[in-house]
């Protein structure tokens, strides 16, 4: 049982929330041609670390807003809570974000429109 501070409603019981798993998984744009394996990085592969984890949570029985949470999966310590679309601000959160294998995936690169031109260039070369 966690006590979670919804950024919009304040501290509320865990039973009001639902956990959406790993955060910061950008959706690749369809026009990019990923291999099935690369697409699987985005769709199927999820981290399950022992220690600090950046997660998405939703205040399901409240304001219905999604937000991000940096939580230690061993101690349940909540290091920080920050809005969707933004990155972690804490040192530990930033480190966890930077250290994720996902940063180097083609799927993440393909979530940015800029990828399009690069992809074409790759094909040419």
């Amino acid at each position: 049982m966690l006590l979670i501070t919804c950024p919009y409603c304040g501290p509320r019981d865990e039973s009001e929330f639902s956990c959406g798993g790993e955060a910061h998984i950008a959706r690749p744009l369809a026009e990019s041609s990923l291999t099935d394996a690369e697409f699987a990085d985005y769709l199927f592969l999820r981290d399950n670390p022992k220690g600090l984890f950046l997660e998405r949570w939703r205040h399901a029985a409240g304001c219905r807003r999604w937000f991000n949470m940096a939580r230690d999966t061993v101690t349940h310590e909540i290091v920080e809570i920050y809005p969707m679309g933004s990155g972690p601000a804490s040192k530990a959160g930033k480190a966890a974000h930077a250290a994720s294998w996902r940063r180097d995936t083609a799927a993440e690169a393909a979530s940015k429109p800029a990828h399009k031109s690069r992809a074409k260039k790759d094909k040419v070369s």
Binding site: R64, W66, M84
Partner: protein, 983 residues
């Protein structure tokens, strides 16, 4: 009946005598008694039979750690098994029975188990009930079920209410002994919001059971005064009869309050128990300590008790466990019991102190360096055998033996976050170690500070430390004077012998069992626990665990510190499932949703069915109809012939608005919606990102930036959640807003050739709904019945000319009545979910049965609906090679031949292949009797189905032991060209 063992004094109210029965015999007691103290006062020692060997057992303790004295309370539906007599407050008329005995407590046939104990040792279940396999269900399990368990439930629903509650505080203090009271006083006087919980009905903890002075007055009186002061503070809440059973994250504690367990029946309007969730900024655990026993042969005889319990019964309840009591101790605390017994005038048979340097006693004969090696007596202890310091033997006659093996701090709650207690040599006990939950401090005996003065001071100090962290200032915090005698102990865990010496009396685990576990290499504490079941009973081994692992430590030659302890888990004490369920029982288990026409449908005598949380009308039987199919067939035929009406408000409705609403729908639907003209409706297919179909439905464009999506009833919540995820997590940049409108609108399908005529009678005349002005798939905001705002959609699930008309939900009841009145000339027929299902199967519309999570647009024959010209969720993976293979599953219709029946779930096989998984070609998803076709029909998926119309297949349903033959056909049994719905 006289209370033969009742003494003078005590904290009982002799002006309030109470009657109770135990195993049908009447006894007397007083207000302030527990069932245990009253039984002892009446000279009752034998109160139960043990779990495995059915050995006679008596009361061991005076608190919640009691392993033996488990009884059945009350009668009828309130009968409650496995209640600890030590925690049961006596009330007038209390009915209690012993349990786990047959036919009677004095003569128990199952006691034969005791004779065969050699075969029932540790690991017995694992070794015995292994083979033959066929014996498991028929022989072993019934046998074990018959023999196992203690009391029995009544089998009737519990008539009482259980509740849940939520409380918040600065400081939660667990335990109202000297440390807890002092902590609560310190914090309360400083103005902090304090909650003090204690499992007893009287504050004071051990102070209620000792002869001690605090601040110059009797300790129990000081505790009562302290509690009164706390109760008088507006910032302090004192909760007696309340046990903190678990520590969760971020300062959340579970507290079970037994509101009415001490009453025959809960007071009007009050629950029996409340499970509180306490949100505490800080907490102090002052749970005290529990006295250990010492194992020796036949140490489980009734009358052999904790020495602290013996003096507790004498001091607090004026109940002597026997007329003549012997004391067996390895520490100074045993001598305290002797002094108290002497002061109360109870005869002391002997003090047996295992320490050769035992302090002298001036109240009884002392045997220093001696041990008790055995006991004897029928149904209770009569003699104990001493092994003297010089090796000699001696028999001492006594009716009770008070055993003091040292004290175990009640560290349990500190372990709920996997904290590991650590061994403290000078008190020979485990104290809280690493991993104590953040925000929880431990005070007093719970961390090994056993003297009253020490506990009081520690209570204050821990409170001051917590208050400082909370930023609450304290001006002064004095501690009253109290006893500060140190207790010396020389550990003694068990006395060697040839018989059986009990460690865990609730689960019947002996020293020999631990030896067997050691011999068979189950030496780690967690293995020892599982193999012997030591500490796995309801008491979680509170009187036995440390003994058991001390014995294991001896056998392995390790220290106790290295041997370690097992993990304690919530709940701290046994907690009724009813308390966890609270009010979520029966109809209140989850909410029931009623469609807007529910009351009207009930008036019509509709039969209802649960659809998710909705109660929907399943069919509307008419007089003379005896079989449900008569009603359903009639409803279908009447709708297809003239007109029918059905409440479809349960379909999910999601209002979507914003400049990017169209683009948003293009993303979540596989087909395009941004091009949909205003005033038109389009069928949409929604995919999961993995390419499987998630849901389908129609979406109407009500305005340039305003859409209304409908979903299936079953997926209404899931689709809305999905859209919110897409909006907030994937595309927060889009200007789009969502709101669920499912409950805001009452919506009715009006279907059949006369549907337009019926609607024209209710739609206000300025709205032209002719076929030309309002064609198939049109939608528009209109008004009905003289100005009531409404929305009209020309969509059809049945395949007929059909509309869905929506009005604000509060007009739903009036709308159905108006439609029925307007339809009377056309014999309008209300239909339920069954007829709805039949008609959609006849028309070949898919629903949850078909969209089962493994189905693609390709399987549905809708591959063209997955646009490749735009990005949409699921589009990429829907194109996976295997999912678009030519020989994939394909939606087909099925029509039974030879009078057979299509059944959903049946698997399809070609005419002449073997019936096995290798030749399985598909399966049936939906089936119905079609009154229109006059045959049993269905929908299903079969490989290459589009090219197999006309082929006969076998439908095999081994689960139901049925098979049938059917012809594959188009899924559109009716009007495949769609002329009816456009008419």
């Amino acid at each position: 009946m006289t209370q033969v063992n009742r003494l003078d004094g005590g904290l009982i109210d002799r002006d309030t005598p109470l009657d109770f029965t135990f195993d049908g015999r009447r006894y007397g007691g007083f207000a302030g008694d527990t069932l245990a103290s009253a039984l002892l006062a009446n000279g009752v020692r034998l109160v139960g039979r043990s779990f495995k060997y059915h050995r006679p057992r008596g009361i061991i303790s005076a608190g919640s750690e009691e392993p033996n004295a488990l009884v059945e309370l009350r009668e009828g539906a309130r009968r409650e098994p496995n209640s600890r007599a030590t925690m049961t407050e006596l009330h007038d008329g209390l009915v209690a029975r012993s349990q786990n005995r047959f036919p009677s407590l004095g003569f128990d046939l199952m006691a034969v188990n005791d004779r065969f104990s050699a075969f029932l040792g540790a690991g017995f279940y694992y070794k015995t009930f292994m083979w033959p396999k066929a014996f498991w269900e028929r022989v072993y399990e019934p046998l074990i079920r018959q023999a196992a368990g203690l009391g029995a439930l009544s089998g009737d629903p519990d008539p009482d209410v259980y509740d849940r509650g939520f409380r918040h505080c600065d400081l939660l203090v667990i335990g109202a002994g000297p440390a807890g009271l002092m902590a609560a006083l310190t914090a309360g006087r400083a103005g902090a919001e304090v909650i003090l919980v204690d499992e007893d009905f009287r504050a004071g903890g051990r102070l209620t059971m000792e002869r001690e002075t605090v601040a110059g007055i009797n300790g129990a009186d000081w505790a009562a005064e302290a509690a009164a002061e706390l109760v008088s503070m507006p910032n302090v809440r004192v909760m007696p009869r309340s046990t903190a059973i678990g520590v969760f994250d971020h300062g959340i504690y579970s507290v079970l309050e037994r509101v009415a367990d001490h009453l025959p029946v809960p007071r009007e309007g009050t629950p029996r128990q409340i499970l509180w969730r306490v949100y505490a900024k800080r907490a102090i655990l002052a749970a005290g300590a529990t006295e250990r026993l010492i194992a020796f042969d036949n140490n489980d005889r009734p009358g052999i008790m904790q020495a602290s319990a013996v003096r507790g019964y004498v001091n607090r309840w004026a109940a002597a466990p026997a007329e003549r009591i012997a004391i067996f101790t390895n520490n100074d605390d045993g001598h305290r019991t002797a002094a108290d017994l002497a002061a109360a005038g109870v005869e002391i048979a002997a003090i047996i102190d295992s320490r050769p340097d035992a302090p002298a006693s001036d109240v009884a004969e002392l045997f220093a360096g001696a041990v008790v090696s055995n006991s004897s007596g029928r149904r209770g202890v009569g003699h104990v055998t001493l092994r003297l310091a010089d090796g000699g033997r001696k028999h001492v006659s006594c009716g009770a033996l008070a055993v003091s093996g040292g004290w175990n701090p009640n560290v349990h709650l500190t372990c709920h976050h996997r904290g590991r207690p650590q061994w403290q040599e000078n008190i020979a006990a485990f104290v809280p170690g690493d991993g104590v939950p953040p925000g929880l401090a431990v005070a007093g005996a719970a961390r090994g500070i056993f003297s009253t003065a020490g506990a009081l001071a520690d209570g204050r100090d821990q409170a001051l430390a917590q208050l400082a962290e909370l930023g609450i200032k304290v001006t002064s915090a004095t501690v009253p004077e109290a006893d500060d005698t140190p207790v010396k102990i020389t550990p003694l865990w068990h006395v060697g012998g040839t018989g059986r010496a009990w460690l865990d009396q609730q689960n019947d685990v002996t020293v020999k069992d631990v030896g067997l576990a050691h011999q068979e290499n189950f030496r780690a504490v967690e293995h020892l626990k599982r193999y012997t079941t030591l500490g796995m009973a309801g008491d979680q081994g509170r009187t036995s665990n440390v003994l058991g692992l001390a014995v294991m430590a001896e056998l392995t030659g390790k220290t106790i510190a290295d041997t370690g302890t097992t993990i304690y888990r919530p709940p701290y004490t046994p907690t009724p499932i009813a308390a966890f369920a609270g009010r979520s029982v029966g109809r209140n288990f989850r909410p029931t949703r009623l469609p807007p026409s529910h009351h009207w449908a009930a008036e019509q005598g509709a039969v209802f069915v649960e659809a998710g949380s909705w109660m929907r009308a399943q069919w509307f039987p008419r007089e003379g109809e005896v079989h449900w199919r008569e009603s359903v067939d009639r409803e279908v035929l009447a709708t297809r012939r003239s007109v029918g009406v059905c409440d479809v408000s349960t379909l999910g409705k999601i209002d979507i608005q914003g400049n990017d609403a169209g683009a948003f729908l293009d993303l979540v639907y596989s087909n395009r919606f941004s091009t949909l003209p205003v005033g038109r409706t389009r069928y949409g297919l929604m995919l999961r990102e993995d390419g499987m179909v998630m849901d389908d439905g129609t979406t109407a464009r009500l305005g340039e930036t305003h859409y209304l999506m409908t979903t299936t009833t079953a997926n209404a919540v899931g689709v809305y959640r999905h859209l919110e995820f897409v909006r907030q997590c994937l595309r927060p940049d889009m200007d789009v807003q969502l709101i669920s409108a499912t409950d805001s609108w009452a919506q009715f399908a009006v279907a059949g050739p006369n549907a337009r005529r019926v609607l024209q009678a209710v739609v206000d005349s300025q709205h032209d709904i002719s076929n030309e002005a309002f064609p198939f798939m049109a939608c528009r905001a209109i008004s009905v019945c003289g100005g009531v705002p409404a929305r009209l959609f020309r969509i059809s699930f049945s395949g007929e000319l059909a509309y869905e008309i929506a009005v604000p939900a509060r007009y739903g009841d009036a709308m159905i009545r108006a439609l029925m009145a307007a339809g009377e000339p056309h014999d309008i027929t209300p239909y339920g979910t069954e007829a709805l299902g039949v008609m959609r199967i006849e028309k070949g519309h898919v629903t949850g049965n078909e969209l089962n999570g493994t189905i693609t647009a390709h399987n549905l024959g809708m591959a063209k609906m997955v646009s490749t010209k735009k990005d949409s969720i699921g589009a990429v993976l829907a194109g996976r090679e295997a999912l678009v293979a030519e020989d994939g599953l394909c939606l087909v219709g099925l029509q039974a031949i030879d009078g057979d029946h299509v059944t959903a779930g049946a698997h399809m096989f070609a005419e002449s292949t073997p019936v096995d998984a290798a030749h399985d070609e598909g399966y049936v998803t939906s089936a119905a009797w079609s009154p229109h076709i006059g045959a049993s029909i269905g929908l299903g998926f079969i490989v290459r189905g589009a090219n197999r119309h006309g082929e006969t297949v076998r439908l095999m349903n081994p689960l139901e032991g049925r098979s049938a033959r059917a012809r594959i056909c188009s899924p559109h049994f009716i009007d495949p060209e769609g002329e009816r719905l456009r008419g």
